[in-house]
């Protein structure tokens, strides 16, 4: 018969493990960014599965280390060597970014946690510092790590954001390790963001859906 002592020992084993509370307290402040890095990696995986090797770059120097923005920021920087990835598919060039702000069609700026943008526009905005225009955005994802309850407001806000990004956006979605049944229903109508719930390495089939969407859309838009 299981005793309370057994339960207490099981809780202690979890909390005291090298990947338990000690490590979590060290990395907690970047837990959302770790999730963005994971989704960024899935984008790289999609590109690679199309037979293309993405090239990592930094804004001011080679990307060693590859630095993710700690807060929403501009695509250009004089002081920080933020990383991004570049790839070319069927003669068209793209970049993958994290935490970059765009200028919406209304003029309001919006941050996209992970996005794919046309290289020419990105280069232009680094060369002549500016926010990338909405028309340069190909794909954008909101990424939310939750060790708790996913907020409904996130879905509403992201729908509004995508609405302000114009008609060139081919792929967008809300990615989370968590799940929300009402948000799933909210995203059902056509033109709403894709709900990528339970997008986590613990569920490889959800990873495949995400990666295949990227592959499919990139193939379709670059087909000659």
């Amino acid at each position: 018969m299981a005793t309370l002592l057994d339960l207490e020992n099981a809780i202690d084993a979890l909390l005291n493990h090298p990947l338990g509370l000690g490590r979590y307290q060290l990395v907690r402040r970047v837990e959302e960014k770790a999730y963005e890095a994971y989704v960024f990696g899935l984008c790289l995986r999609g590109v690679r599965q199309l037979g293309v090797t993405p090239v990592l770059r930094g804004i001011t120097d080679p990307p060693d280390p590859f630095i993710f923005r700690g807060a929403p920021g501009q695509i250009h920087s004089r002081s920080r060597n933020f990383g991004y990835a570049e790839f070319s598919l069927n003669g068209q060039n793209f970049e993958i970014h994290a935490g970059v702000e765009f200028k919406g069609t209304s003029g309001m700026t919006h941050e996209l946690d992970v996005c794919i943008i046309r290289s020419e526009d990105a280069n232009q905005c680094r060369w002549t510092p500016d926010d990338p225009p909405a028309a340069s955005l190909i794909a954008g994802w909101e990424c939310k790590f939750y060790a708790g309850n996913l907020q409904k407001g996130l879905g509403r806000a992201f729908v509004g954001l995508i609405d302000d990004m114009g008609a060139n956006v081919r792929l967008n979605g809300l990615c989370s390790n968590s799940f929300h049944p009402q948000l799933r229903n909210y995203f059902q109508p056509r033109r709403r963001p894709h709900p990528h719930f339970r997008l986590t390495p613990l569920d490889p089939s959800n990873e495949d859906i995400f990666v295949n969407q990227i592959k499919g859309e990139l193939k379709k838009m670059t087909a000659s």
Binding site: M1, A2, T3, L4, L7, E8, A10, I11, D12, L14, L15, H17, L19, L21, Y24, V27, R29, V30, E31, K33, A34, Y35, A37, Y38, G41, L42, L44, T53, V55, R57, I59, T60, P62, P63, D64, P65, F66, I67, F68, R69, G70, A71, G73, S77, S79, R80, N81, E86, F87, S88, G91, Q92, N93, R126, F145, Y146, A147, N177, P201, L202
Partner: protein, 175 residues
Amino acid sequence: MSTHEYDAHDALDLLMRKLNERDEQLARQIQSAIDVGKDVEEKERFARRKKPRVYRRTVRFSDEEALDVAIAALQACFVEQPLFVNSAEIDFRPTAMGEAASRSLSAWDRESRTLPFTHEGVTSEKKLEVELQTETQISREDQQTLRLEPVPDQLVEQQKENLTKLRLLATFGED
């Protein structure tokens, strides 16, 4: 016959007490996820209507459901977080290391519209870091960046086993 000498309420109480002792912030976060409750469909029957009226009602979680919520949150922190970093490390590894953006622009081949390709760095481990001291932040951080450090798979497997054991001890379905 019961296989536990405690019930779900005792288990939840012990888990939340231990979490509160060790990390109040995480305990608060999990408590608030539990306190949100869940939506259920309620049916209201009327004598003159054939079909009952169905409406949404938010109710509190049972102690067993609350335990599930808490354990899912612990899984997110102690298993999924390390896996995100490991997955990113694996997906970044087979990429090439290019030069800085300013230099790549000058090498840009506008005629052929293809990127200058490099095989440099393909298959090597890439160091991933997150900025802590942001560009606009006035307050000073001790560290500029924090490395996203991959962890051995063996440790992740151990934590998965620890979670499985905890789940088993917190499941009362057949009692």
